[in-house]
């Protein structure tokens, strides 16, 4: 026979104002199996918990029901207290008589009856509770970081500095990401390369970091603490171990006019190339699509001039499996290419701005390359069309961002600041030039950010016009910008030499495909979703996977670095223990009844269901049944609901418990 203890909480007056708690305690005290019932002002307080623990021992209670707030609030608190008193924590249940009763009702009589019924249900339920032992899973203390931009680099360095091995995977031939493309950074105008490249070198030299560049994630299996990640290392055509990075191959390559993606296609590179001089690793890669040897079979100059004989045309893609315990996703962003309107995409382009048609209408990142000392113009602001210095330049903000009718309703967050920066760089480099900015709002929250924006206007002569541009067109060698100044209420027409569009930040192309491989969720724009917007901002809902940087949403560099360090801290917390403890609310298969249809496996969003062979003593296969890996199971209960013969039960939420509750009503 159960000896159940029921504790009714007043929650100050939150519950007792509408529920006659003494009457509830008295009425449930008469239920079969209830050995003790009482009410108390604050059950969660220290004296409340002491009362609970003392009563468990004095009354030799077998089960506990605490009728108070939502279990999401204090279930852990009371289960801990119950455990301290020597009972299994899963023999304690909470009856929610606050959110589900006192807060939503006014009539004391009715609320009291309802509270009594809620507690009565939980009394019947707790009778069916089983002792559940905590689940432990071993932790592989190695981490995978996906993406070698500033977010990935920071997270990798932090984790590696804590003494744990890191596998860093980057899709491009070099790490560095978008930050390596930038000229100077707001709000201090320090050179991006100068602060970035030392970190890149640190990554390359760190004994705990294993770097895979020109590589992609092929497959992710396993679960928190125990992932198996298959990495596809694309054929570089250059042996990384023997290449010395001398660069002779690049100087001799006859294909010299290939647009360089790193320079936003305004600079040129060779077919065997490193994307930029500070690339890490300093090992070239052959772009097989543009290489004469791969296209026609003739050439092979790079191989002939290579001293150490590192050029290998026969190299093939290879697959490598890395065991890791945690994953940091830092895949960053991509810029909205406004002239493209992919079929079926909800995002509409901005054909009216002539991007892609008028050579001197460029995006912000292209301006960064023009302004960069290592860029194709050596840091001079020159027009792509004729190489002349633009004397009048127009910047247009919010291209794509905050335009619901065009498909993107969010703010890209960094454009206000980088446009202000662009006007300053322009002012420093083009003397006598004039910068105009069309903007909807200036959003400058952040340390020293508003001061920076004010400086662009007050000290660096940028003219800010509040209003949007309706049309752009080429007139001779000028671009006529037609817009409105809504502050004054007039139409504006500027004959500009160059136009820079602050295009929206979007997730990387294929971000959704990677998310599907990882089993993490993403929003309608393909930005990755965090587990809780406020309280778990760097964790994914999938255990063991963390987010850093702009793959989660638009972010500037300081925010990205902070989040990367936060994600690293989460990884270190996970790695601080050898065994990972998990709540034992997991599904269990009744193998005797399982017929092996694997409907449960089909619906499991976490890949927790496996196939298990049942054999007799002679080793003959009797049948194949489902098996739920408790390390992976998230306890969602979908398999339980799907099983046609009800042979999957979720511990802590069994059909028996739920039906007992219903029958108590």
């Amino acid at each position: 026979m159960s000896r159940i203890g029921v504790f009714i909480c007043h929650c100050g007056e939150n519950i007792s104002r509408t529920v006659d708690v003494e009457r509830v305690a008295r009425d449930v005290g008469r239920l079969p199996g209830v050995a003790f019932s009482t009410d108390y002002k604050y059950m969660c307080s220290d004296p409340g918990q002491t009362l609970l623990k003392k009563t468990i021992q004095e009354q030799k209670l077998s089960h506990v029901v605490v009728a108070a707030c939502s279990p999401r609030m204090h279930e852990k608190t009371f289960r801990k207290a119950v455990e301290a008193a020597g009972l299994n924590p899963f023999l304690c249940e909470m009856a929610n008589i606050r959110e589900h009763c006192s807060w939503v009702h006014e009539n004391i009589e009715e609320a009291t009856i309802k509270a009594t019924e809620i507690v009565g249900m939980m009394v019947e339920r707790v009778k069916k509770n089983r002792v559940l032992p905590t689940i432990t899973v071993p932790v592989t203390k190695r981490s995978l970081v996906i993406g070698g931009g500033i977010a990935g680099i920071q997270a990798a360095l932090d984790i590696a500095d804590a003494g744990h091995e890191v596998v860093l995977v980057e899709r491009e031939p070099s790490i560095g990401g978008h930050m390596a493309q930038l000229s100077e950074t707001f709000p201090t105008l320090d050179c991006s390369q100068c602060i970035m490249t030392p970190k890149m070198v640190d990554v390359a030299n760190h004994p705990k970091i294993k770097l895979y560049t020109y590589s992609e994630i092929e497959l992710v299996e396993g679960y928190i603490g125990n992932f198996q990640v298959t990495i596809k290392k694309k054929a570089r055509s250059v042996n990384e171990d023997t290449c010395t990075g001398c660069g002779v191959c690049m100087t001799k390559c006859p294909q010299k006019k290939i647009p360089n993606k790193f320079d936003q296609n305004i600079g040129m590179r060779t077919a065997i190339y490193i994307p930029f001089p500070q690339a890490v690793p300093n090992t070239p890669v052959i772009d097989r699509e543009n290489c004469t040897k791969f296209k026609t079979g003739k050439c092979g100059v790079c191989q002939k001039v290579c001293g150490p004989g590192a050029v290998d045309f026969e190299q093939e893609d290879s697959l490598i499996v890395e065991p890791v315990g945690a994953i940091v996703v830092a895949t960053g962003f991509d810029l909205y290419t406004i002239d493209e309107k992919p079929k079926g995409s909800p995002i509409k382009g901005y054909g009216e701005f002539g991007h892609g048609k008028i050579a001197d209408v460029i995006d912000g990142m292209t301006f960064e390359r023009l302004a960069s000392a290592s860029g194709p113009t050596g840091g001079k602001i020159l027009r792509p069309s004729d190489g002349k210095e633009p004397k009048q330049i127009v910047f247009i903000q919010c291209i794509g961002s905050r335009a619901r009718e065009k498909g993107i309703s969010y703010c890209s967050k960094v454009c206000c600041m980088y446009t202000a920066k662009h006007t300053m760089l322009y002012h420093h480099k083009v003397h006598g030039g004039q910068a105009y900015v069309f903007f909807m709002d200036a959003r400058t929250p952040g340390k020293s950010y508003d001061e920076f924006w004010r400086r662009a206007i007050e000290e660096e002569d940028a003219v800010y016009i509040r209003g949007m541009v309706s049309r752009l067109y080429q007139k001779g060698d000028k671009i006529v910008v037609m817009g409105s100044d809504i502050a004054v209420g007039v139409q504006v027409e500027i004959e500009a030499d160059m136009v820079v569009l602050a295009t929206a930040i979007q997730p990387q192309k294929g971000a959704d495909l990677l998310a599907q491989k990882l089993g993490i969720s993403y929003d309608k724009y393909n930005f990755y979703s965090e587990a809780h917007a406020k309280l778990r901002p760097v964790e994914c809902a999938t255990a063991g996977i963390y987010l850093a940087g702009a793959c989660q949403g638009p972010k500037d560099i300081p925010e990205t670095v902070s989040q990367a360090s936060a994600a690293a801290a989460k990884v270190m917390t996970l790695f601080s223990k050898d065994q990972l403890e998990r709540e034992p609310i997991v599904a269990r298969v009744r193998e005797a009844g399982c017929v092996g249809c694997f409907a449960c496996k089909k619906v499991c969003a976490y890949g927790a269901v496996e196939e298990k062979e049942i054999r007799d003593r002679q080793g003959n296969l009797i049948k194949v049944v489902a098996y739920v890996n408790p390390g992976v199971c998230a306890g969602c209960g979908t398999c339980q609901a799907t099983c046609p013969s009800k042979c999957v039960e979720l511990d802590g939420y069994t059909d028996e418990q739920v039906i007992a509750m219903i029958e108590a009503l």
Binding site: G596, K602, P644, K646
Partner: protein, 307 residues
């Protein structure tokens, strides 16, 4: 009104082909066992037979009385069939759909089966004597809607081609009639039908998709469905059955054939199939699919019911 005769003269040639093929594959050891049809006691009637010896191959027949879906013998009854080597099975197009479904649900493996397909113009309705000739009236209602007269994906199919006249689709007509009713009238109709149920579970036993070792309706701790044949429990059972078969049942109509109380069970199954066709463009039984429409989520799925 005179009834249209359904041409079944090819069935004799088909029977001969089946016998020859069965003899061949049993003799050369390709299969250990064959499940097929043989003549039964009453004139013109047929019954399932399991043979393991090549000399029994001549017992195999195909006639309009070969109504059973033999797929069921490979599931629950498979424990009676010695599981050594491949098993041969005689299948009509409708039975083939059940096998396809069972393969998708990990119950059967294609490589463990030898499929002898039957070109079929139709079989007799259970309400007619087995010796009755096949006409549009005596034809089983499911055969009026048949879209698989020639089974696909078999190892062997006799070369004969059945002549299949266009007939009025009996279930479609009945579904249209019920859909035209008000919800209250429809509910009254089904309540009356379910009230007849005596909970004999013949529909469950004959269904190839009811392959659970223990049906949840037989569970008593906790009891999911009331076991006595009272209206509430009856309705619960038939709703469970319809929901469990949605997206899986391909309409062999065996449930309806064996129901001693003449409950139009396949009508319910066809209505569910129609819903799934409209909602998810899914038709059961044509290909082995890893996930059915009700065990997967697609962003394009209709979500208008979420208010």
């Amino acid at each position: 009104m005179t009834s249209t005769l359904i041409e079944t003269s090819i069935y004799a040639a088909i029977s001969e082909s089946i016998q020859a093929e069965a003899k061949r594959i049993l003799s050369d050891g390709q299969v250990s066992t064959i499940v097929g049809y043989a003549a039964a006691r009453r004139k013109g009637s047929a019954q399932p037979i399991v043979i393991t010896d090549a000399s029994d191959a001549q017992k195999l027949i195909f006639t309009p009385a070969c109504v059973n879906n033999l797929a069921v013998y490979l599931t629950k009854a498979k424990k009676d069939i010695p599981k050594k080597g491949k098993i041969g099975i005689v299948v009509k197009g409708c039975d083939m759909k059940a096998l396809t479904g069972l393969m998708g649900e990990s119950q059967l493996k294609r490589e463990e089966l030898y499929l002898i397909g039957v070109p079929c113009a139709g079989v007799l309705a259970s309400t007619f004597a087995p010796s009755q000739e096949l006409t549009d009236e005596s034809l089983a209602p499911k055969c009026t809607e048949c879209d698989a007269h020639l089974p696909t994906g078999c190892d062997f199919v006799p070369t004969e081609t059945p002549l299949t006249p266009e007939l009025e689709k009996k279930y479609a007509v009945e579904i249209a009639r019920l859909e035209a009713l008000t919800p209250a009238e429809r509910w009254a109709y089904w309540k009356e039908q379910f009230a007849k149920c005596i909970k004999c579970y013949a529909c469950r036993q004959v269904c190839p998709f009811c392959f659970c070792e223990q049906c949840l309706c037989d569970r008593n701790k906790p009891q999911m469905v009331e076991t006595t044949p009272r209206p509430a429990g009856n309705t619960a059972w038939h709703i469970v059955r319809a929901m469990h078969l949605a997206g899986r049942c391909a309409g062999c109509a065996e449930c309806e054939r064996v129901c001693p109380m003449d409950i139009p069970l396949n009508l319910l199954n066809r209505k569910m199939a129609k819903e799934l066709k409209e909602l998810y463009d899914h038709e059961a039984g044509f290909e082995v699919t890893e996930k059915g429409p009700l065990t997967m989520f697609n962003e394009k799925d209709d979500q208008s019911f979420i208010k």
